[in-house]
């Protein structure tokens, strides 16, 4: 609390049971299609979770598995080269025939890029706990 960091939260319903969403979330072939080209990935606490986000550019993400509970939780240290480290957490919950996925990107450092300018439309209600949290539902 009070460390000047934010959390971004996105909530998404996916039309497949948790076992399938988990596979899409964690299998290297799938990761390369939805997230980025994976390097070393080992789904165990402390294991690497390396990503290459674009060819040639300095856009490697040094990831490490902080917590893993198959078909439920995947939490990663998220350290893009040249940026402040943060934490990314995926949490799956069965929801009828499908799955609710909650993504939290935590410990985002405000100093990284306060320069971006846009309009403030959302209400203060969106600012929760020590965080500015924004949910989108679909």
């Amino acid at each position: 609390m009070g460390d000047g960091r934010a959390t971004l939260r996105l909530t998404r319903y996916l039309d497949a049971p948790v076992i399938e969403v988990w596979a899409a979330l964690t299998e290297p072939d799938s990761i390369s299609r939805w997230l980025a080209r994976p390097g070393a990935v080992e789904l165990a606490e402390g294991g690497p979770f390396e990503l290459h986000t674009a060819a040639g550019a300095a856009t490697r993400i040094h990831g490490r598995v902080r917590a893993v509970e198959p078909e439920r939780v995947l939490e990663l240290d998220w350290h893009p080269v040249g940026q402040e480290p943060s934490v990314v957490r995926f949490e799956l919950t069965p929801a009828g025939p499908g799955t609710t996925l909650v993504l939290d990107h935590r410990r985002l450092d405000e100093r990284v890029c306060m320069a971006y300018a846009r309009t403030w439309e959302r209400r203060l209600d969106d600012l929760e706990a020590s965080v500015a949290a924004v949910e989108t539902r679909r």
Binding site: M1, G4, H105, T119, L124, L127, T136
Partner: protein, 108 residues
């Protein structure tokens, strides 16, 4: 301390919510909290120092109002991550469907 750190305190967030409804006097703001009047004054000072509230004098009264500029910056900064993850989760959705189609095809 940056704007996020100033927002970390629940009393300060509640003060901003009050001010989002319109300008308020210090006494009126304080009446919403069990905290002592000096306590609320301290929170107002911190909010002012971070540019989150403005103050003007009207006779004996000090009237406080919201300054949305730091919140706009904060939101613009978060927007970058929001766009990134929204795109990635769209792709995950597509991938989940692709896998299901592939499995259905295999099962005939």
């Amino acid at each position: 301390m940056n704007a996020l750190a100033a927002l970390a305190d629940p009393t300060r967030r509640r003060i901003l919510e009050l001010l989002s409804e319109g300008e308020r006097g210090a006494g009126e703001i304080a009446s919403h909290f069990p905290t002592s009047r000096p306590g609320v004054s301290r929170h107002l000072r911190i909010l002012r120092e971070h540019g989150l509230v403005r103050v003007r004098e009207q006779g004996q009264r000090r009237l406080y109002s919201l300054d949305p500029a730091p919140l706009e910056e904060l939101d613009a900064w978060l927007e970058r991550y929001r766009v990134f993850w929204t795109n990635r989760l769209d792709a995950l959705d597509t991938e989940v469907r692709r896998r299901r189609r592939a499995r259905d095809d295999k099962e005939g």
